[in-house]
């Protein structure tokens, strides 16, 4: 695993990436880990020219991020987990050339205030975007998602998917705005947005086997946050420990 530390400056000991001020170019296909270890403002560009898997994480920070993924060719898989104090984040994903593809999976626990804007730009034909966000909003938190999929007229045969779900754990201010701007017919598009609590039936089923309400929530939150997330052991363990702490 190539590790990239995002501090006041970008630090990495990997020869598989090129760092040019705030632009990180991935030179080889493979797995990369990015961790934001300091609070602050970040304005980064990631240049993708092949099949790249990025695992991003950040814990207990105040972040103001405006990042861009430039996918010239190949497939970018992003798996990202946040458990921060405050986040304001704008993500731009440019699918620049024919066949470029992104699979973006984000999960977070929102404690106070977090705002996310995700812009996906289908700039050429047969580009594919699959955007999945899943959040747990703690009581009294504020969590907003705006997801904009933009399709250019020449992007025939493109496939777009947006799925966002927020599980609320009490009174909180949440919203999801899924937008798809599609000027052509030859596009396959799907979106789904859900805000709500865990299903009563699920809670009853687990409690009917002797599991307390608190432990039931722990099981459901862990399952929800970790499912379909390609996380290696250390991050996975960190998330499990976090859930155990929040629902102590």
């Amino acid at each position: 695993m190539n590790k990239i530390i995002i501090d006041k400056k970008i630090v990495s000991n990997s020869n598989d990436i090129k760092i040019d001020e705030n632009v990180i170019t991935f030179l080889k296909n493979g797995d990369y880990e990015i961790e934001y270890i300091a609070s602050g403002e970040y304005n980064l560009s990631f240049v993708i020219n092949g099949d790249i898997n990025i695992l991003e994480s950040s814990f207990d920070k105040e972040l103001n991020i405006n990042n861009r993924y430039i996918i010239n060719k190949g497939k970018l898989n992003v798996t990202k987990f946040y458990d921060n104090k405050v986040v304001k984040e704008v993500i731009n994903i440019d699918l620049c050339n024919k066949g470029a593809s992104v699979n973006y999976k984000f999960a977070n626990i929102c404690k106070t205030e977090e705002n996310y804007i995700i812009n996906i730009n289908h700039n050429d034909e047969k580009t594919v975007s699959d955007i999945n966000n899943k959040s747990v909003a703690l009581v009294n938190s504020s969590l907003k998602f705006v997801i904009n999929s933009n399709v250019l007229e020449k992007a025939n045969g493109s496939i777009l998917n947006q799925t966002t779900r927020i599980v609320t754990m009490g009174e909180c201010d949440t919203s999801i705005s899924p937008n798809m701007f599609i000027p052509i017919d030859d596009v396959e598009a799907r979106h789904g947005s859900v805000v709500g609590t865990f299903k009563d039936d699920q809670i009853f089923y687990l409690m009917s086997k002797g599991i307390s309400y608190k432990d039931t929530l722990k099981l459901l939150v862990k399952g929800y946050l970790l499912s379909n997330m390609l996380l290696y052991h250390e991050i996975r363990k960190k998330i499990i420990d976090l859930v155990d702490t929040y629902w102590r």
């Binding site: 009853f204 009917s208 086997k209 002797g210 599991i211 099981l219 862990k222 499912s227």
Partner: protein
Amino acid sequence: MLSIKNINVFVEGKQVLKNFNLDIEDGSIHVIMGPNGVGKSTLSRVIMGDNHYVLKNGEIVFDNQDITKMTTDQRSKLGIFLAMQSPLEIDGVSNQDFLRTAMSSHLGKQVGLYEFIKNCEAAAEDLKMDKNLIHRSLNVGFSGGEKKKNEVLQLKLLKPSFIILDELDSGLDVDSLKTVALNISKYKKDNPNTSILIITHLSNILEYIKPDYVHVLSNGTIVKTGRYELAKEIEKKGYNEVIGKTNIIIGDDDNE
């Protein structure tokens, strides 16, 4: 063991059980039969404490304790087990985490991984169940039969003293029905004081688990009680003829 005294149960304002009474003694096997929609599954949910079902009066006593106001998990820890008609699929929650948490809750201490795996694999083998299902998301992608076997696997691990089988036979092929029913019979033989309440609209499962009493439920109340022969009569003649013929009580049950 379990005594249900004069309960009225409502769902979304509609009455489902009316002045319902039932006494189940230690070690006995009772069957509630009836066509679809008469309140059979409601009964199982009410015993287990599903708060979607509003109990307006009466009480439910289990092992001399009034459980009417107890939470669902408390009832389970007292020894009541509900094998559900449609076990839920919960994506992301691994069957293993779920089973181990449930076992630990019942025992009041964390179950060691070795002990858990050993018990789990032995139970899965008894049920002719694919051991890999233990590591998958809870019931997700399981066949109907696998879901029911997973319920019985839980039963074998949690070792309840009162078992409710809600339509256990639905979704099971003949071989799977035989396997799960024989596992339950074996459990009952090993734990003779365990009582069982079987909820069904068919009598197939009763070939393997012979009941002491058979009750027929209609419009939210028990209209007829008898022995095993009553189930066979229903199978032969259908509910309309059996319920419509008479309301007299067959056998020596005095609950009604």
